[in-house]
Symmetry: C2
Subunit: 170 residues, 2 copies
């Protein structure tokens, strides 16, 4: 179950998704980007927060708060729920991570910094999560909202199904 290492440093090329890619670079880039963005915005990417982000980026899957907490403990950080939740709140609030409502779990943001309304594809078999863009105000829902006078502030779009790998194996 633990696909901790996507050892294949293959050419990525595919937009966003379940394909193999240079994971090491992926992790490093994400962390570096976060550092820069925090500096720019006057935010503090403290050790706990950085570690949590690293964990999320490392896995390309949704991790529950308590899974994160376990690993924090292993790394010598505080081991009580608020430690994990606070770090996650920070990351979510500033766009470095997203909460997957369907799973009560969290993933690293795939497009940090980009103003975006994320949509997710969640594999029900292996819990892999891919992030795509959604077009919130366009389409039927936007039309319905305008018709009803509802002001959309935030969108949750989550598709559940089978990722390519799991489809193959089935």
């Amino acid at each position: 179950m633990t696909s901790e290492t996507h050892s294949t440093s293959a050419q990525d090329a595919t937009p966003i998704g379940f394909q193999e890619h240079d994971h090491q670079a992926c992790v490093e880039t994400a962390l570096a980007t976060a550092e820069v963005r925090c500096n720019e915005a006057g935010l503090r990417l403290t050790p706990v927060r950085r570690k949590v982000l690293e964990m999320l980026v490392q896995e390309h899957r949704a991790l529950g708060a308590y899974a994160i907490l376990d690993r924090l403990r292993d790394e010598g950080f505080g081991s009580q729920p608020p430690v994990a939740y606070r770090a996650l709140d920070f990351l979510v609030q500033h766009g470095f991570a997203h909460k997957i409502e369907r799973l009560n779990a969290f993933v690293a943001c795939a497009h940090p910094g980009a103003m975006h309304s994320p949509a997710f594809m969640i594999c029900r078999n292996c819990d892999a999560v891919a992030e795509a863009q959604s077009a919130p105000v366009k389409g039927m829902l936007g039309a319905a909202a305008r018709a009803a006078g509802f002001e959309i502030e935030r969108m949750v779009v989550e598709a559940e199904g089978l990722c390519p790998d799991c489809t193959e194996k089935a």
Copy 2:
């Protein structure tokens, strides 16, 4: 089934959640429809299930499982969590209700019987919920999914914001 009913005017997309309507009739229709559909499908709309559905239809808002449980107790039904969760599971499974992931709560289905992929507008202030249609496989996410080889089985689409009433009051 996917797009057969989409040649509709904007009027059809209007949600029933945020507007005045004959609520008494609304409740009765919903329950009657459920009865019929259960009979047709050989399902048993037992007292608990019926009561839970009634409660959900009565309020046009999301109710948590424990709110429902409290009321069940008041009505003389069992008062332990599984009682509520089982009834809710039944209703959700057979399309009489939906779970709002964002709230960990449940609403009656506004279009029971119709094969549909629901989208919700949730008022962050008063918790009112309106149901609209979403077009799951169309749009950006569908395209991204096809490109990635992801097979969508189920969609969660939830818009959070302010309903007309609460917008006015603010």
